[in-house]
């Protein structure tokens, strides 16, 4: 091991000596050593052998440094470490852990190169390489883009294997036996003569062992946790009301707060009068947050009531304020001066658009709210020159750094405890609600403050998934697509979000056009152009981001081309797909759904294929139409994640994606007046309820190859598969979401 590694180890040894035997294990090649964040805050008697393994008197804790917001990633990430460390599944504890540079997300940054996920050409790979380095230099610990598993598949197995190596080496020293003679079993090292040393007793000595950079990893045939459906580590707590979400954190002497901000997000608060509010029972303080106010009280409900009693005089926004004005600015941005990228330009599109039978269409989708079940909230506590924060965040390093700035503290004086999250969907990549709680903690120094948004704030102060407009031109000949020209305009979420982080958004924003330019369709003449609408109301990431609308756009239009060409939409897609795993998922879904078999009168089916984050997904949706409207009967899904680490969880994630996509397809729409959303709660912003939830059959395929994440991939095909089914059943082509504007659902 080189110098850096030695220094890191020594720092750790000092830490562990100081805490009398406590140990944490993660493994980094010499050049990659990042400080082990567990060592900053190691409790008495604990050992942190790597950034992912902590051993203390209570046993082994695995650090799974990504947001658990429903995806089940804490379970799968823990299984990666547990598999190699060799510990019993029911003996482990799992924690998100502190923010740390060691937990940077390389895969996510690499996903954002302006190349298709399947493009492994020199330019694409060179840029991915450069960005991989950047992710480490600018270490953002982000959960998003379905990247957790892909990013940590090797790193967390290596962390487990290296910790196991150190524990075995420590046992070898103790027993005076060569390590090669020792075995491990469920948290103990076994000697040939039957002697057994537990990891707990070995941990302090193991801390002194140099860790290997690339320990051998188990071949797949030897996996006992990976590839299996594991019981989720958070399941029992979540079914007994004992799981602690951010909103549930309780500290002695806590006070309770809420905010009321200008619903035209970012616009000013001209003046306010809090006289009445201050006189209300339990109210402790009213704080001017600039752009809004906060009320601090002795009970959340009292804070809610008092916040509504404050008279606020809001300024109007500096951006287009109505839905019409916002949509007009998107349409108007489809011009050369706003051209953001042209990431695909195959064949000669202009020439082939003049040949064959031509079709043109415009598609639209609205702004969408994230509407996580748990409204935004955070707990902040400024005490003894230190700031403690409990919050559900998808970007803890950014949240911590912004909190430090607000509190005027060094980042090392801020401890961010990332809690479980009642949904994220990209909303918790923003730190606005954490910043608010910190401002209140500063105002109430010495007292822990829990700040909770009402649903009305959660829905109206959201950074929405932006609206988008697509223009299509295509031609068909001989039952096949001859040319496809897609132009998409939308505000840039990367520009908006990075701006709030104080970072420039350099180069094109692939997110505008992702899912439209990168589909593995071998259309000889295929062009995709993105236009960046000048920034208006702030927007942000959402589950599958650009794919969430481009999937609807492109898969609907492909269906239109099939209809024009007189081709079967399934067979036409199969003929176009050049990527073998993609063909396989489509074939699988065709077989499973009995595609081609006659449906009863009034019924219909539609298909959609989509490649998102390198994961091909195909869905067939069956519906029944009646006078009352459309009923969604059944959804068939086939998905290929490369290697399926937890099949039952992949099924859950696909079902989740379908329901999420259908909620947006049927009802999702935020509209504006004076810059403020008209939808304020679940009565006006509808989402799918159980009586509308179809049966969802999932088939998981494994083509091997790069392992991929599934959190977002079920979303994009749902809307187009449904729209295509409606066309199949009724002959009506709907080119705008939400579909309920054009047809009734039961």
């Amino acid at each position: 091991m080189g110098k850096l590694a030695t220094i890191a180890r020594r720092a750790f040894l000092i830490g562990s000596a100081a805490v009398a035997g406590g140990v944490a294990f993660g493994v980094y090649k010499v050049k990659q050593v990042a400080p082990n964040p567990l060592l900053d805050d190691l409790p008495q008697g604990a050992t942190a052998l790597t950034p992912h393994v902590r051993i203390d008197g209570q046993g082994v804790t695995l650090i799974t440094p990504r947001a658990e917001m429903g995806q089940g990633n804490h379970t799968t990430l823990a299984a990666l470490v547990a598999e190699e460390l060799d510990v019993a599944w029911d003996s482990i504890r799992v924690e998100h852990g502190p923010p740390g540079a060691a937990y940077y997300n390389r895969a996510l940054v690499q996903h954002n190169v302006p190349f298709a996920d399947l493009d492994h050409g020199n330019a694409a790979e060179a840029m991915r390489g450069a960005l991989g380095v950047m992710a480490k230099l600018m270490p953002m610990q982000i959960t998003g883009g379905s990247s957790s598993i892909e990013d940590l598949f090797d790193r967390m197995r290596i962390a487990g294997a290296a910790a196991r190596f150190a524990l075995v080496a420590a046992a070898a020293q103790k027993l005076g036996l060569p390590a090669a003679q020792l075995k491990t079993e469920n948290g103990s090292v076994l000697a040939p003569d039957g002697r057994r040393l537990t990891y707990l007793e070995l941990a302090p000595a193991a801390a002194a062992i140099d860790l290997p950079a690339s320990p051998p990893l188990k071949p797949r045939e030897q996996w006992r946790y990976l590839g299996k459906s594991m019981p989720r580590v958070d399941m029992v707590a979540k079914c007994t009301g004992t799981a602690t979400f951010g909103i549930d954190v309780r500290l002695p002497d806590m006070v309770f707060a809420t905010v009321r901000m200008n619903p035209a997000i970012g616009a000013r608060l001209v003046s306010f009068d809090a006289t009445a509010a201050k006189a209300m029972r339990g109210v402790l303080n009213v704080v001017d947050l600039r752009g809004g106010i906060a009320v601090i009280a002795d009970n959340t409900w009292r804070a809610f009531q008092a916040a509504q009693a404050v008279q606020c005089n809001w300024a109007g926004p500096g951006y287009p304020a109505s839905t019409t004005a916002m949509m007009d600015s998107i349409v108007a941005s489809m011009s050369e001066e706003n051209r953001d990228s042209r990431l695909r330009d195959d064949g000669s599109v202009d020439k082939s658009l003049a040949e064959g039978t031509r079709l043109e269409a415009e598609y639209r989708v609205p702004f969408l709210a994230h509407a996580t079940m748990e409204p935004m909230n955070a707990v902040a506590f400024l005490h003894d020159g230190q700031l403690d924060i409990w919050a559900g965040v998808q970007n803890p390093t950014a949240a911590r750094d912004q909190a430090a700035k607000i509190a005027g503290l060094d980042a090392t004086k801020v401890r961010l405890h990332t809690t479980l999250m009642g949904g994220g969907f990209g909303r918790r990549l923003e730190s606005d609600y954490v910043v608010q709680a910190v401002k209140l903690a500063v105002a109430m120094a010495g007292k822990p403050v829990k700040m909770t948004w009402r649903r009305e704030e959660d829905m109206t102060l959201d950074f929405y998934r932006p609206a988008a407009v697509a223009h299509f031109r295509g031609t068909t000949a001989a039952k096949q697509v001859l040319a496809l020209d897609v132009q998409v305009a939308s505000p840039s979420v990367a520009e908006s979000n990075l701006g709030r982080l104080g970072l420039p958004a350099l180069g094109p924003d692939k997110l505008i056009i992702e899912g439209a330019f990168d589909q593995p369709y071998a259309i000889a003449n295929y062009r995709a152009t993105a236009y960046r609408t000048p920034a208006g109301r702030p927007v942000s990431y959402a589950r599958s981001v650009g794919n969430s609308y481009n999937g609807f756009f492109i898969e609907s239009f492909i269906d239109e081309l099939a209809a024009q060409a007189g081709a079967d939409p399934m067979n036409m897609r199969l003929a176009l797909l050049s990527h073998e795993p993609s063909r396989k998922v489509l074939s699988a879904v065709a077989a499973k759904s009995g595609w081609g078999q006659q449906l009863a009168a009034g019924r219909g089916r539609g298909v959609a294929f989509h490649m998102c984050r390198g994961v091909p997904v195909a869905q067939v949706i069956e519906i029944t139409t009646s006078k009352q409207g459309v009923k969604i009967d059944k959804v068939f899904v086939a998905v290929d994640v490369g290697t399926a680490l937890d099949p039952r969880n992949i099924e859950a994630q696909q079902q989740s994606g379908v329901i999420f996509g259908l909620s947006a397809a049927l009802y999702g729409e935020i509209t504006f007046a004076k810059g403020a959303a008209n939808q304020t709660n679940f009565d006006s912003y509808q989402v799918l309820r159980i009586q509308q939830a179809p049966q969802i059959v999932v088939e998981v395929l494994e083509s091997g190859g790069t392992i991929r994440g599934v959190g977002e991939t079920g979303v994009p095909p749902a809307a187009p598969a449904l729209a295509n089914a409606i066309f199949n059943a009724t002959g009506k082509r709907i080119r705008e979401l939400p579909l309920s504007k054009h047809i009734d659902f039961v």
Binding site: P231, G241, P375, I659
Partner: protein
């Protein structure tokens, strides 16, 4: 005023119009019952009053005369209620935020209807949103729980 929750009687000093939800969460520190919407639209707040499902976010505490059961009182990690056991076996929860309410609604349904059909389940559970889309497993787990209870 007095309020009996999960078998324990509490003396509480709040406005009678304070919703039961906020008495449970902030006054009695029982955070298992969740805040989701505040207007009886999401179901995350579902508790039992005398065994019947009630929307605690719009129920003034002053109007509660019966005994309250929350998710914490239904079962514990060591002694799961049949509905909770079925939920765990089916691995229903994703983010889990809606699940206290889902489980309380399901438990109330099974008290009056020991063998519900899919349609019965959809009707009884239609007030409980799940943004994670766990609905297919919720439906299956309610059937499982019904079987567990009938078999017990």
């Amino acid at each position: 005023m007095k309020l009996t929750v999960n078998g324990t009687s509490h003396e509480i000093n709040v406005e009678p119009e304070m919703p039961l939800l906020w008495v449970l969460r902030d006054e009695l520190d029982l955070p298992g019952t969740k805040f989701g919407c505040g207007i009886a639209q999401c179901g995350a707040y579902t508790v039992h009053v005398d065994g019947t499902a009630v929307r605690s976010c719009v129920t003034p505490v002053g109007s509660v005369s019966g005994v309250v059961t929350t998710i914490e009182g239904l079962g514990t990690p060591a002694t799961l209620h049949a509905v909770q056991a079925a939920w765990v076996e089916r691995q229903v929860a994703q983010c889990g935020y809606c699940q206290s309410g889902q489980i309380m609604s399901a438990a109330a349904l099974l008290k009056t209807n020991p063998a519900p059909t899919d349609a019965d389940i959809d009707e009884a559970m239609s007030g409980n949103l799940c943004r994670c889309g766990a609905y297919p497993r919720i439906r299956a787990a309610v059937h499982d729980a019904a079987k567990r209870i009938r078999g017990a």
